[in-house]
């Protein structure tokens, strides 16, 4: 099975974020970056499928030159080769544009299965994988927790709301968007890191792929959430107060 995994580089979690002077993105020059979390699980799933059924894992990343770090990490963990659509300012494209870049690049690879993360940690649209599938004319399924190969295709487990799951069979080729936490991520071994240097990374560009930025959706403004400190005094008897407190903790703060 030839599996293509779309991976994105995003600012590290817990980064100290500052809104950029344009007000449309964050200052990311000095931010450390890492692989988008659900993508890490998608990659792991692909590597496990390859270990079970043989084949090839190709990592696909659209992003600036610095994303080569994330690509290298995927190769170090065991991806066989990679495709880098190098684009310094991915913000020029809307999500349709990014999906077009990925679709064009994916079409050249001709994979049996495409895995993406469920959503990205920075933009969080949760759409890229789905649009990618539409552009390629492939069936897709989202929020996937388990993938099994069958005679005719695959059987997947989807997460629904409220602890419900859905099992489906799908033909291949197909696109799946993968949920975080569904497997145990491996470390890149030092041997793997060394070997990654010798693996092929194909460089593509938006121009080369014939995709021009014509965004229909634009990001107008990013801002820090307003932090308002609120003090609420609960009236009533101790018993009433406790009941109200429990309710708040359960349904508003959601820590119970």
């Amino acid at each position: 099975m030839k599996i293509l995994v779309a991976i994105k580089q995003v600012p590290s979690r817990d980064s100290q974020l500052k809104v950029s002077s344009s007000g449309r993105w964050m200052e990311d020059a000095d931010l450390s970056a890492e692989i988008n979390e659900p993508d890490a699980y998608a990659l792991e799933e692909a590597l496990q499928l390859k270990e079970k059924h043989g084949g090839e894992v190709v990592a696909l990343c659209a992003g600036p030159a610095r994303a080569s770090q994330t690509i290298r990490e995927a190769l170090a963990k065991g991806a066989d080769r990679a495709v880098h659509v190098e684009e310094e300012d991915l913000g020029r494209f809307d999500l349709l544009g990014v999906a077009q870049l990925l679709a064009k690049a994916a079409a050249e690879v001709k994979p049996d299965l495409i895995l993406t993360g469920l959503q990205s940690d920075d933009l969080g649209y949760g759409q890229t994988g789905v649009i990618l599938a539409e552009l390629l004319g492939l069936p897709h399924s989202t929020i996937i927790m388990q993938v099994e190969k069958t005679e005719a295709g695959i059987r997947v487990k989807r997460e629904l709301e409220d602890g419900w799951f859905q099992h489906m069979t799908m033909p291949l080729p197909a696109v799946l968007t993968i949920q975080s936490g569904i497997n145990k991520l491996r470390y890149a071994t030092l041997m793997g890191i060394k070997k990654a240097k010798t693996k092929e990374v194909k460089q593509l560009s938006a121009d080369g792929l014939g995709v021009t930025a014509a965004p229909k959706v634009s990001l107008e403004r990013v801002y820090m959430p307003q932090r308002a400190k609120q003090t609420t005094l609960l009236p009533g008897t101790a018993k009433e107060q406790a009941a109200k407190l429990a309710e708040i903790l359960k349904f508003e703060v959601r820590v119970l």
Binding site: S32, A188, T189, L190, M191, I193, A196
Partner: protein, 392 residues
């Protein structure tokens, strides 16, 4: 530890920009490993005085042992990459880093450098994977700083060697499948590979340590221990051979202690921003606290630069033992000072094992002593700049 944010390293001067992609990947793997596999258990291990055994094979699978060596399954990393690995491991615990140092720099390195092809085939792949454990026996009860005086002897009996003597303070001694024992032979100091179970060879653990509690430290006894001729490392002759191993290990220590210092500093820095005293102000707002933090971050950054520069020199083949002495001496001193000051900033909490500082501080007392005490490295530097040796 309570509510500490994810560890992102300590990098005041953008030193990360001096590292290449591969170096960062190595560091990230090691950091991740420490975060997920070391830190969750190290406090208990330290309390109980035991080494976290589950790490042995895992570190082998990841390529941590002899990472900067080439061949026989070793990862073939650069010395900077190896240094970053040591830094991250010691951020977890000096005992874990020591395990790796001994295995790689003090056992695999001499086998690779001084061993026969048979020694290499037999031991290196197994040591690399963590299927076999090694230890390094140089120190004796009567000879620590001055190993030249060692009294363990090796005499020839036909084709065999007979070893007699005692080694002490040996990291991993009772765990080891193979001990590299240094002994005085008629032709000078030589190294012998003594296998677990050899008649006349025994080991026992040293108890009561208040430092390096998550590391095994042992004594070895050799009592008419008969070894075949093939047990001797053919390439190692004279004290310079074990000392060359120590130079490798000390280099790693110079990086390792930076990790311990980063953990202490970061814990104290964060604590100072959340702990409030006097008018409900964070203690970080008091000038005396800021001075301590400013001193610590400065010394820490200098230690990082020294380690990185020495690493680059080592990769160019230009790092000399006297350079390594400066690295080891300065960085251990800096780390110990940072650990003590960090302990101070946490007040009473600083003495608790809920925070990592006291553990690191106690460990660093060992690190100051082993692999050449602070004094001995002072004398190396003194000799280097004056041409006069002051050891005697």
């Amino acid at each position: 530890m309570r509510n500490m944010p994810t560890f992102r390293g300590v990098d005041y001067l953008h030193l990360e920009s001096l590292l290449n992609e591969q170096e960062l990947l190595v560091r990230n793997t090691a950091r991740d490993f420490v975060e997920k596999d070391v830190l969750p258990q190290i406090r208990e291990c330290y309390r109980d005085g035991r080494f976290p055994h589950d790490l042995i094979r895992k570190m082998g699978d990841l390529g941590f042992y002899g990472a900067n060596l080439e061949g026989y399954g070793c990862a073939g990393m650069s010395n900077v990459e190896y240094g970053l690995l040591m830094q991250e491991l010691e951020r977890g615990d000096s005992g874990v880093r020591s395990f790796c140092s001994v295995q790689g720099a003090l056992v695999m390195y001499p086998i690779l450098t001084y061993g026969s092809e048979e020694h290499k085939q037999r031991w290196l792949p197994a040591l690399q994977k963590g299927e076999a454990i090694g230890c390094f026996g140089l120190t004796e009860p009567g000879f620590g700083s001055n190993p030249a005086g060692m009294t363990t002897t090796a005499r020839q009996d036909g084709a065999d060697w007979i070893l007699n003597g005692e080694k002490t303070w040996i990291t991993n001694g009772t765990l080891a499948d193979v001990a590299l024992v240094w002994a005085r032979s008629p032709e000078g100091i030589r190294g012998f590979l003594v296998e677990k179970g050899t008649k006349g060879y025994s080991s026992s653990d040293i108890h009561g340590k208040m430092s390096m509690r998550a590391s095994v430290t042992s004594s070895l006894v050799l009592s008419d221990c008969r070894l075949p001729a093939s047990a001797m490392l053919p390439g190692a002759q004279g004290l310079k051979s074990p000392l060359s191993c120590l130079t490798q290990a000390r280099y790693g220590i110079g990086w390792g202690v930076v990790g311990a210092a980063m953990e202490c500093y970061e814990t104290a820095r964060h604590y100072s921003t959340v702990r409030k005293q006097f008018d409900n102000r964070p203690i970080a707002s008091h000038q005396l606290v800021q001075e301590k933090l400013a001193d610590m971050i400065t010394e820490l950054t200098k230690a990082q630069l020294l380690a990185l520069h020495c690493g680059r020199l080592k990769d160019q083949g230009k790092l000399e033992p006297a350079h390594v002495s400066m690295l080891k001496r300065n960085n251990v001193r800096a780390a110990l000072d940072i650990a003590r000051t960090s302990r101070d900033l946490l007040g009473a909490n600083g003495i608790m094992d809920e925070y990592p500082i006291m553990r690191h501080m106690c460990n660093l007392e060992t690190v100051k002593t082993y692999e050449g005490t602070d004094h001995i490295h002072t004398l190396v530097l003194g000799e280097r700049v004056t041409g006069v040796a002051a050891y005697k």
